[in-house]
């Protein structure tokens, strides 16, 4: 996952290069997105028909600090979704809320699409990289 939402990118740029304060997120949730849509920095797909809705909902996630000397997270947290629908999941989006599209932080494609049948449990790992 190496893509930052455009609004979030602006906030990070402003925080880094101006005196504008950055509002730190206080919660992080993983939303699954159907493979039939191309993720972009301007269009959040969460809370639309494009979000693959598991019975357990979006998954809370916590990332470790980035690797010293490298712009990536040190380990890949695993998140689990239960009671999956019949779906092909192609990507994920990170939101600050368990529902809705209020603030999308990051997004990215999975390394390969995940095809699930009804009733499956799905576990994926997530890494974040700046390049």
């Amino acid at each position: 996952m190496a893509n930052i939402d455009r609004t979030e990118s602006k906030a990070l740029l402003d925080a880094s290069l101006t005196s504008t304060a950055y509002t730190e997120p206080s919660a992080w949730y993983v939303a699954l997105i159907a493979s039939s849509f191309t993720l972009t920095d301007t269009t959040p797909y969460g809370a639309t028909a494009n979000e693959v809705t598991a019975g357990s909902g979006r998954a809370a996630i916590a990332f470790p600090a980035a690797t010293a000397g490298a712009p990536s997270t040190t380990t890949a947290p695993a998140v689990t979704f239960t009671t999956m629908p019949v779906a092909t999941t192609g990507g994920i989006e990170i939101y600050t809320a368990s529902t809705g599209t209020a603030r999308r932080l990051w997004y990215g494609n999975l390394s390969a699409n995940k095809t699930t049948a009804s009733g499956d449990t799905l576990t994926v790992t997530v890494t974040a990289t700046l390049s």
């Binding site: 019975g55 049948a117 009804s118 576990t123 994926v124």
Partner: protein, 96 residues
Amino acid sequence: MANPIRNCMGCGTQDDHPRHVLGDGGGAGVDIFWHHDCHFRASGCEVCEAVSAEGLTGDELRAHIEDNDPGGAVAREINERQAPWTQNANLETQEA
């Protein structure tokens, strides 16, 4: 639409029963499929323990999952256990 036929890493059986799909197999680069009961026996997976607790298989298990989401609470608890910030969020919810 027919449910897909997949193997099980635990017992080797190919059938259309629900699976725990481990995306990229924990870094192995390929998805790994387990029957829930096989995954619980092999690894102690708490989610699979909850899903398979009734001893159901096949279509009966799928119906049970679709009706009751038996692993949902456990999955949420595990995800939150690994995300310490949720503890603060829970406290705030309790105080509200």
